[in-house]
C-alpha cells in the first residue's frame, strides 16, 4: 500500500515518489496535488496506477498526475506520460477509450440579463436538437465513405460542406484535423458505431451548459479571449462516442498478443503497448488520430445544432462564436528539451489538457501572445473555468487538469441523493436542468466529484496554467 511517507514534498502542490520506490520504475512519479488531496488519493488505486505509468519503456522525466487524479483502467485519469519516440512505446490505455473527449466553448454577445427570459426555451431547443446518449444516434446515418472523410479530414470536410464558421477551424486544437489520420486502419466495427453519432452528446458525464461569466481573474487575457463579466457562453463536453471506444478496444486486442513478440511486460493488460515505431504502433497512432478527428467533427456539429437552436429562439442574426476546442484524452507528438537535448516525445494525456504557453506556434494566431485557452468543466451545477497556458508548465509537458474528478461511485451517489433532490437543489440556485433520466442526474450529483475550485487553485499555484475566468451554470443539458 502506498502512503504519504512514500512521497517527497517538493512544494505545497507538488509531491514525488522517487524512482527507488519500486524496482521497475524508470522515472519518478509526480502528483500535482495539495496535501489534503494527496491524502484523499489513497482512497483508490490511482497512485499505484501512476507508479505503473512510470514503468513504461521510454518514459521521460516523470509520470505525472494532475490534481483531478482518480482511478482509471491502466493509467489514472488525470495522468500524463511523455514517451521518447526513438525507443519508447505507445499505449492505447494511456489515452483512454473516449479518444479526444474534450471541451468546446461558444461565446454569445449577450449578458445574463438579456438571455434570462429565453433561457428555458433555449435549453429545451438545444436538448431537442442534440440527441444525448444511450446508444441513440441522429436520425441520419452517414455512409462509410462519409465517415472515412470525417476520419481523415475532421472539421475541414464539414466546413467545406458549408457547416460552421471560419473561426471554427482556426480556433480549434490542431484546427480539428490531425494529418496522420488514416481511415484504412480504423475497423468497420468502429466506423459502423460512428455512422449515426456525429453531432451527438453521449451519456455519463457528458453535458452541455449555458453558463454565465461570473468572475474575471485576468482582464487582459479575458479581453483577448473575448470574455466579459456576466456574458453568456455555452460549454460542450463530449468525445468520439462509440467509434473511439471501438478503436481502443480493437487496438488493445491487437497489442495484447503483440507484446509477447516485442517482449514487453506490463502490470495490467489495459496497459498493453508496443514500440511506437512498430507497424502496430504506427497503425494505432493513425487510428487514434482518426478517432480524434471524428471527435472534433462531433463537437463541431454539436456546436452547429446549438447555433441552430440559438437562432430559432433568439433570431437569425444571433451569433455564437467559438472561443476554443481542446482535447483531454489524446496522444500527440511534441518536442521538449530533456537533459539538454531536443527530444521528440509522444505525450499521452488521459484526463489531462494540453496547456501551451504564450508564443507557442501551435496556438491560434489571435491567442498566441497570451497563451492557449484551456477549458475546465466543473461537476454538474458547479463552476467551470477558462485558464491560459504558462511557460512554467513545461515541467509538466505543458499539461494541466481536465475537470473535477470523481470521488464517489455512481451507486454511492444514488444511495446518498435522489435525482429529484439534485434537480430541486439546482433549481433553488436558479439553474434550469434538462435530462431524460433522474437516475443520470443523481449519478452526476456534485457531491460525487472533487471540488473544482480546489483543483483549479492547485494548477494555478503550481504555474501549470493561470485562471482567466470563472463560469457558473444557468442551464444544464445532460447526457442521460
Amino acid at each position: 500500500m502506498i502512503s504519504k511517507k512514500d512521497f517527497r514534498k517538493i512544494s505545497d502542490c507538488l509531491w514525488e515518489i522517487p524512482k527507488s520506490f519500486r524496482a521497475d520504475m524508470k522515472v519518478p512519479a509526480r502528483a500535482y496535488v495539495s496535501e489534503r488531496m494527496l491524502e484523499e488519493s489513497f482512497k483508490d488505486r490511482s497512485i499505484e496506477q501512476l507508479v505503473n505509468v512510470s514503468t513504461l519503456p521510454g518514459i521521460q522525466k516523470y509520470a505525472l498526475a494532475m490534481p483531478d487524479i482518480h482511478e482509471g483502467y491502466a493509467s489514472p485519469i488525470g495522468g500524463v506520460a511523455a514517451i521518447r519516440i526513438s525507443d519508447g512505446v505507445i499505449s492505447p490505455g494511456v489515452c483512454g477509450y473516449d479518444i479526444n473527449c474534450g471541451m468546446r466553448l461558444l461565446k454569445s454577445e449577450h449578458t445574463e440579463k438579456d438571455i434570462k427570459p429565453y433561457l428555458n426555451r433555449l435549453a429545451t431547443e438545444i436538448q431537442s436538437q442534440i440527441p444525448s446518449g444511450l446508444g441513440r444516434g441522429r436520425k441520419i446515418k452517414l455512409s462509410i465513405e462519409q465517415i472515412d472523410k470525417i476520419l481523415e479530414q475532421g472539421t475541414h470536410i464539414l466546413q467545406k460542406q458549408g457547416y460552421g464558421e471560419k473561426e471554427d477551424v482556426e480556433n480549434c486544437e490542431a484546427s480539428g484535423k490531425l494529418d496522420w489520420a488514416d481511415a484504412s486502419v480504423v475497423s468497420d466495427h468502429a466506423k459502423n458505431r460512428g455512422r449515426d453519432q456525429v453531432g451527438t452528446l453521449g451519456s455519463g458525464n457528458h453535458f452541455m451548459e449555458v453558463q454565465k461569466v461570473e468572475e474575471i481573474f485576468d482582464k487582459e487575457v479575458a479581453g483577448v479571449f473575448g470574455l466579459f463579466k456576466d456574458q453568456i457562453v455555452v460549454m460542450i463536453h463530449t468525445g468520439s462516442r462509440g467509434l473511439g471506444h471501438q478503436v481502443c478496444t480493437d487496438y488493445l486486442r491487437t497489442m495484447i498478443p503483440a507484446m509477447q513478440r516485442y517482449r514487453i511486460k506490463v502490470p495490467d493488460r489495459e496497459f498493453a503497448c508496443v514500440p511506437f515505431s512498430s507497424p502496430e504502433g504506427q497503425r494505432y497512432f493513425s487510428a487514434m488520430a482518426s478517432a480524434a478527428n471524428y471527435a472534433w467533427a462531433n463537437r463541431y456539429m454539436v456546436a452547429h445544432y446549438t447555433r441552430k437552436a440559438w437562432k430559432q429562439v433568439l433570431g437569425e442574426k444571433e451569433k455564437l462564436e467559438l472561443l476554443y476546442d481542446v482535447a483531454h484524452n489524446i496522444i500527440k507528438k511534441e518536442k521538449y528539451k530533456i537533459d539538454g537535448k531536443d527530444t521528440e516525445v509522444i505525450v499521452h494525456r488521459k484526463g489531462a489538457t494540453r496547456a501551451f504557453p504564450p508564443g507557442h506556434p501551435e496556438i491560434p494566431r489571435k491567442y498566441r501572445e497570451v497563451g492557449q485557452p484551456i477549458l475546465i468543466p466543473g461537476s454538474m451545477g458547479t463552476a467551470s473555468y477558462v485558464l491560459v497556458g504558462q511557460k512554467e508548465g513545461e515541467e509538466a509537458f505543458f499539461s494541466t487538469c481536465h475537470g473535477a474528478g470523481r470521488t464517489m461511485s455512481r451507486h454511492e451517489a444514488m444511495r446518498r441523493v435522489s435525482g429529484q433532490e439534485v434537480v430541486k437543489s439546482l433549481e433553488s440556485k436558479g439553474i434550469i436542468i434538462k435530462c431524460q433520466s433522474l437516475r443520470g442526474i443523481a449519478e452526476e450529483a456534485p457531491m460525487a466529484y472533487k471540488d473544482v475550485d480546489e483543483v483549479v487553485q492547485v494548477v494555478h499555484s503550481a504555474g501549470l496554467s493561470k485562471k482567466v475566468a470563472k463560469l457558473v451554470p444557468t442551464a444544464v443539458i445532460k447526457g442521460e
Binding site: 483508490d44 482518480h70 482511478e71 483502467y73 491502466a74 477509450y97 473516449d98 446518449g133 444511450l134 446508444g135 441513440r136 466495427h189 459502423n192 458505431r193 453521449g202 451519456s203 455519463g204 462509440g242 471506444h245 471501438q246 481502443c248 478496444t249 488493445l252 486486442r253 495484447i256 498478443p257 495490467d268 493488460r269 489495459e270 498493453a272 470523481r406 470521488t407 464517489m408 461511485s409 455512481r410 451507486h411 454511492e412 433520466s437 437516475r439 442521460e480
Partner: protein, 135 residues
C-alpha cells in the same frame, strides 16, 4: 447459485458472474451485461445473430466475446440475453446470440475493459469471473 452480481465501483460497472461450467459462466456474464443495459423492449420477436470469436487465452476470449456482443447490440439496437453455443473451446467460441430489438437503453455500456479481469475456479468447483465495463 446466483447468475451474477454487481460490485461497487467508483465510475464504472463491475460485474461478477458465476457458472458451474465455463460456458455457463460466459452465458451468465452475457446475461449480466444485457440486464445492465436496462433495455426498453417493445417487440418480443426473437432475433438470432451468429457470432464467432477466437482469442489469445480464456481471459481475452471473455472480453473479446462481450466486446463483439456489445458492438452488435449498439449497431443493431438489439439486446442479447442468451447464446446457443455451437462450439465452446478454451480460446474459441461459435454460436448464435438470441435477442430482441430495443427502443432505448437505460444504460450506455461503451466498452468492455481488461482492467482487473479475473477468471477463476473456486474450491467448490464454481467458475467465477469479474469484468469492468466502461459506462
Amino acid at each position: 447459485m446466483k447468475r451474477y452480481e454487481i460490485l461497487e465501483h467508483k465510475a464504472d460497472l463491475k460485474i461478477r458472474a458465476f457458472g458451474k461450467r465455463k460456458r455457463e459462466l460466459f452465458l451468465n456474464m452475457l446475461f449480466g451485461m444485457a440486464e445492465s443495459q436496462k433495455p426498453e423492449i417493445k417487440k418480443i420477436k426473437r432475433i438470432k445473430r451468429k457470432i464467432k470469436i477466437k482469442s489469445l487465452d480464456s481471459e481475452s476470449l471473455l472480453v473479446d466475446f462481450l466486446s463483439e456482443v456489445l458492438y452488435l447490440s449498439q449497431v443493431n439496437k438489439e439486446v442479447y440475453f442468451k447464446i446457443e453455443f455451437d462450439k465452446f473451446a478454451d480460446i474459441e467460441i461459435e454460436g448464435k446470440l438470441i435477442g430482441q430489438k430495443v427502443e432505448r437503453f437505460g444504460e450506455d455500456i461503451k466498452a468492455v475493459t481488461y482492467y482487473g479481469l479475473d477468471i477463476r475456479q473456486l474450491k467448490n468447483k464454481i467458475w467465477e469471473a469479474t469484468v469492468l465495463f466502461d459506462i
